[in-house]
Subunit: 370 residues, 2 copies
């Protein structure tokens, strides 16, 4: 049994546990292997892509305390690739292993309401928001925040799932009914200039290292393109974005890699203003460019941070500009062409079926700074 | 059943078989995972480092035809990480799968005598050599080649194992007796200026791509340091070295990555001259720098070549200079310091025991071209 603040004595040859078997877990596992670690994956799906690159895996549901305990006991430190881990699951893991990031970080960021309350408590702006449990809540919230506004489930949302824009003329009661009674949040619409994110790491000793802020473009609510340096982002605004990520990491006593998505909006005085959209307590799609584009990838950095090792250099490789393009659904069919493109770095996640909207891989391109 | 010249239809999601479970197999497996392939490792040692990162493994001796056949049948294409594979093993593999590089490439390069006969047949210089099976052979060979000369076993030598310098005053009979009657070769001593190697790839369509030639420094017969560009190597000599590697690859109808080690010696006319020392029909320690130092690593390139995919760009990352240092035995104990060194890329192979002379990992550093 170990608390999340104790220092694990993880050495090469030791075992890193990862909860979740998707592409993020897979890429963390590949990075851990480079450092001579063994990886143990815990996931409920038999066709989890991360199983293919791990020393061991546990195929069990997230609500199986005995399997969770045995898994955690077999690991020197445990981390996770996604934030939708049930409270009870995190509790069992933290009881049997050093869980990094901590259960507190998980609980704070997996619920949109507690996340926004937390960010607001730090004096950092978010989109305006109201908790919505009933139609009456929603009507009052729409009166306060105006339309358009975005109704979201508090938990389990990703890639646009669990959210719905409410425009003039839409019937609040009918829209809320679509969410079948789960706790929701209404967020005021933010007319942003630019979506950016900061991927950063914090070690158990408080060391902090951020990658350069990147600009993100979404299509159909799914990340399509990440560019770094972020075109048009000033140095001052970029530094402010990193300061926000750092304040969040410190307030959570965070250990690991986190991503903070922000909107840059034009302030009334013409100055740029940042509002936090979402915190991901894990490696993030907008950090995939770091595999080739930075001296230490976000995956290697996660391993370093959760093992209590020195954080790696986050500088961009050769100071170049980097672009990361997601391959969604049948976009991955272009793999032969991408392999033939000079200098394109193709990554495929080993997923059996290319369903629409499914992240199948990504491609990263480095270019001299324009 | 497939011949080694047929085109395997290997797609992401398919299975790459690798014979051998050491660090080279491990790094090929990691590269294959990036392309969404599954990897199946065949090795006789239970603690093979490559097992930890593979979808499947077969733990069986190299002389188990049933296990070899079942392994090959489960793979879309089979390659290997080392050349000391018995003839019969290669034959079974080639009967049940597409084996790349071919059994011919393996047979030619795993025996120092047939390798040198082959290189000589192409009109490419090697060190002077003679076959040695008896003391009489050795005495005649020493008369022809002079002293010092190097007595080597024809097969199974690596990292200085299976070789012995013969100097003035040494007793040939006593030295030969140390090799216990295995077939040997005597090589004339080459007073070289520089040891270089060319790592290159050839696809089934004849496409060829070489990395920049690198300079190698050995300590105690084990590679210690690789530098690229090779300090002092002229463009003309480098191009000549690549032309030699290409001629060798084409003559073998080679498919995969190969490394050609050469000595650069000062010719009698003052011009540089290259002699081939050894051919490795596989990825090579002197190519480890390509993981971060080139746009396509030698491991990714192996995967591309043996799968019949387009070869990748071999240009150096950002045109930088690259240095790769091996971590031998207890040198790997410095891992924390290396993790803390800005921009140093640490690789550890997951080997349980740091025996003297054992390759435990390596570290790669990229620097602006001086």
């Amino acid at each position: 049994m170990a608390s999340s603040t104790s220092t694990p004595n993880v050495r090469p040859g030791g075992t890193l546990g990862i909860v979740g078997g998707g592409q993020l877990g897979r890429m963390i596992a590949l990075a851990a292997a480079q450092y001579g670690l063994k990886v143990h994956i815990y996931a409920p799906d038999a066709d989890s892509p991360a199983f293919d690159v791990a020393h061991a895996h546990t195929l069990a549901p997230y609500d199986d305390p005995a399997a969770l305990a045995a898994f955690a006991d077999a690991c020197d430190v445990v981390t996770y690739e996604f934030e939708n881990i049930p409270h009870a699951t995190a509790a069992v893991l933290a009881e049997h292993a050093t869980l990094r990031p901590s259960a507190t970080a998980l609980l704070t960021t997996q619920d949109r309401l507690s996340e926004k309350d937390f960010v607001t408590s730090l004096g950092i702006p978010t989109a305006p928001y109201r908790a919505v449990d009933t139609v009456e809540d929603l009507i009052r919230a729409l009166e306060a925040l105006g339309r358009p506004a975005v109704l979201k489930t508090r938990r389990f949302g990703y890639d646009g799932k669990g959210q719905r824009m409410i425009r003039e003329g839409d019937d609040p009661a009918a829209l809320l009914a679509e969410f079948k009674g789960v706790p929701c949040i209404l967020e005021g619409f933010v007319p942003f200039e630019r979506e950016i994110s900061v991927v950063a790491a914090r070690g158990p000793d408080g060391a902090f290292a951020a990658y350069d802020p990147c600009a993100n473009e979404h299509r159909d609510h799914i990340l399509a393109l990440t560019r770094v340096p972020a075109p048009g982002l000033t140095r001052a605004t970029g530094d402010a974005a990193i300061a926000i990520a750092r304040a969040i990491a410190e307030a959570l006593d965070y250990v690991g890699v986190l991503a903070v998505e922000m909107f840059e909006i034009a302030g009334s005085d013409g100055a740029a203003r940042l509002v936090v959209n979402e915190i991901a307590p894990r490696v993030h799609n907008s950090g995939h460019w770091t595999i080739e584009g930075a001296l230490t990838s976000q995956f290697a950095q996660t391993v370093r941070a959760v093992c209590g090792w020195p954080l790696g250099d986050t500088a961009r490789t050769g100071g170049m500009a980097v672009e990361m393009e997601n391959l969604i659904g049948d976009q991955a069919d272009s793999w032969v062409g991408l392999l033939a493109e000079p200098g394109a770095h193709l990554h495929l996640y080993g997923k059996a079926e290319a369903r629409p909207g499914r992240k199948m891989g990504h491609v990263t391109r480095l270019k001299p700074l324009g």
